[in-house]
Symmetry: C2
Subunit: 461 residues, 2 copies
């Protein structure tokens, strides 16, 4: 048995997979919140380069990865596929478990897969600086690294409370050369307005987005960069699943169940989309399980309707599973999963029955993370522990059924820079957050302010 | 050009290399400080298992790695050899640079190579618990992980000041299941004595060693474990160099210069010893460069004489390059290099002219670390930045000579759990520590207390 399955560099995929090409029911268009008409591509030009807007709208099945991006990918890609032999033994499971490990990247998560592509396309169009927001810090770190690779300036607005709680994340971004500002900041109109009301505001991802977008719009040769949710971001992540398909073949294995956490969707999409192709063609029975935290259960308890992508209501309206853009999830450590909505593509696939969703509380996830650390020697990022916890459930179910299913999951990152989360768990400081349904209802009701009647009901198309 | 050279798992070396077999001048024996006679092997039995004592004394050229240890190695070994193409480009170097990356291990450094072996041999002899000390935390983390693999309890005495400054390290050890105590502690005679004098004592590695040894001697089925310096520890690390030799051959390359940091010696020995075999046989011109911090320059400014291995004078006397066991180096971030002496084997090889030594200040090292992070996407541990800084010097020299030397270095670990060090550098809080020669002289003079006249002069054999 081989523990680590390495795909040779010269067999790394040279194209990304665009799932839109194979979707029978194409995703509904994003809408301009003022006109409620489908958004014109040009509306995105102040913040995104043309090449990425084109990918956002593309229906081509495969899109070439530029040579310059392939070259940068080779620093850490193809990433290893691990046979989870230690976990199998710990669980007494006679089936196979594999995990694709994205923690080998420079920032320690899957995020550089899109950060490098985005930095490249911006550089090609003459852009000199990228702005972005970051909460937990995984995305900001990835973009900081990517900008260093393509000689771009990088300006990161980090939610104030995380800025203070996660000094290692800020230092890591600084090490890669980025400028990091606690948000709300004095550098933008949006930040100053918030600080005028409350000079000690702890910040929010919504405010940080506003600051980053404002800077991108106002400064010359500057664009904005987003780390999840959008189609082109999910597209770039599909290299994860494309590699995994080749690696499973090298080990003569086929996936019965694919598991990944779902925050905005890039982690899940990255592994699952290439495998979903056959499922949509009706030639595969593989199950696809997206895992979310119990405290932010948009997939299992949200509604499929048009909503804003950000808390403040600045973005286009997008058709997605949402808890309402005003929903404020509990302060769990898996910051990357604290998002009120799911990407349009993942939402559509859930609506159409191609994927399943499960919600798991954070105590169960950290318990799984500790078991995994001892069994496999990798301390998983808090987000990634959600996948592990679900895998354990799948194993329990398989044992009951007497089945030997091959389970494959996305270990999207390591937790070395977020050890405080494990510390809180070990010190019994964490609680078993579950969602407050009154809060969800109130949050969903607020969407009414922005939408005419025909959007208020759940979308049924 | 291949960026990452992976050795297949089934080609992983199955034996460690014992350099003593090939040394023309065998190392001088350790001495009992009371009798000044060579130490009897049995004297070590209260703290080490018999198998490790046998390895400590062995002159066999190759020693089989037990199957159980090989199996555990496969979680992260063979570790990748990287072609440093990004660094070559950043330096404008037309020669080749490679680095062996040990940061892929569960604890993020090379330390599990010996921790797993030590845990295994202790388990085989019926031991139930291992005790150890840790300063910066790399070693404690590795032993915590290794004990989890072989169902041993693990008790770590962590220097109080590090316990407070590096909470992530403690949490990481806890995650792997170890019990971690701030040293001095109330759990030992040694600790209580120190605390009686000063209840807020910041601790030292010397005190922590005393606590760990005391527990090992007093408790049933308990032994002590050391992470560097001793022959058997260096032996276990040689798998690094043995793999590197195969990987260089896969890339049709030959090392002209081998570079590694030297703290106790396990990092340096791990990469260099297998390559030194040919040098000692006179069939190789490869240069071997051990790098130490300017603030703790035992190799470049110390004396080759018998000295204690610990600050308190509890250990046997060992023939080594030393600054004196009372030397207290400046509080640099590369905690793994703050050791007053060098292992017996490395000291002997330096004395006999097979290796060279260079001292570099920490500002230069962190500058090299930042350059490397941007160029190669890996944030190196503070210890490892010393190798990078020396590689940059080697490149500058090669350019002057118009030579295209192939340089290979040991990137012994990542710095994710020690980002505060980079933060201090980026915030201009670090100073360019150099050694105070008066302090060195005073420290060396103290050795006189313990040695008769014939040991006072430098050893000349």
């Amino acid at each position: 048995m081989t523990k680590k399955i390495y795909l040779p560099e010269n067999e790394m995929p040279k194209q990304w997979y665009n799932i839109v090409a194979d979707m029978a029911q194409k995703p509904l268009p994003p809408l301009d919140p003022k006109t409620l008409e489908p958004l014109a591509p040009e509306a995105l030009e102040p913040i995104l380069p043309k090449a990425l807007i084109a990918q956002e709208m593309s229906q081509e099945r495969y899109i070439d990865i530029p040579d310059e991006v392939l070259e940068k990918y080779r620093v850490y890609r193809p990433s290893p596929l691990f046979r989870a032999s230690g976990l199998e033994k710990a669980l007494g499971y006679s089936g196979k478990i594999y995990y694709k490990y994205e923690g080998v990247s420079p920032s320690g998560s899957h995020k550089p897969n899109t950060a490098l592509a985005q930095a490249y396309y911006n550089k090609e169009e003459g852009i000199k600086k990228l702005t972005t927001e970051t909460g937990a810090g995984q995305w900001g770190t990835a973009l900081a690294y990517a900008c260093a690779q393509f000689d771009l300036e990088c300006e990161v607005y980090m939610v104030n409370v995380s800025f203070k709680q996660k000094p290692y994340r800020k230092i890591l971004m600084n090490t890669f050369g980025a400028n990091v500002y606690a948000s709300p900041s004095q550098r933008t109109q949006a930040g100053r307005a918030v600080l005028e009301d409350d000079p000690n505001h702890t910040g929010s991802l919504g405010i940080a987005i506003s600051e980053a977008v404002e800077r991108a719009v106002q400064e010359n040769d500057t664009k904005y960069s987003l780390g999840s949710v959008l189609n082109h971001v999910l597209l770039h992540q599909t290299i994860i699943g494309l590699e995994t398909q080749k690696q499973l073949a090298m080990d003569n294995a086929q996936a019965d169940v694919i598991v990944a956490p779902l925050g905005g969707g890039s982690n899940f999409a990255g592994l699952a989309f290439p495998f979903l192709k056959e499922k949509m063609q009706g030639t595969s029975n593989t199950r696809f399980v997206a895992v979310e935290p119990s405290s932010c259960p948009k997939l299992t308890q949200g509604k499929f309707r048009y909503d804003f992508g950000d808390n403040q209501g600045y973005t286009p309206l997008m058709p997605m599973y949402t808890l309402g853009h005003n929903f404020v999830p509990a302060g769990i450590h898996a910051g990357g999963l604290r998002y009120h909505g799911a990407s349009v593509l993942c939402s559509q696939l859930l609506k159409d029955g191609f994927i399943e969703a499960k919600a798991i509380d954070q105590l169960t996830c950290f318990e799984a993370g500790i078991l995994f650390a001892k069994a496999e020697g990798i301390v998983a990022a808090p987000e990634s522990t959600h996948a592990i916890a679900q895998v354990i459930r799948e194993v329990e179910q398989a044992k009951i059924e007497g089945a030997q299913k091959t389970i494959v999951f996305n270990l999207s990152g390591h937790g070395f820079v977020d050890m405080a989360a494990y510390g809180d768990y070990l010190d019994n400081k964490l609680t078993n957050h579950r969602v407050d349904n009154t809060a969800v209802q109130k949050s969903l009701d607020k969407i009414k302010r922005y939408q005419p009647d025909n959007f208020l009901k759940e979308l049924t198309y």
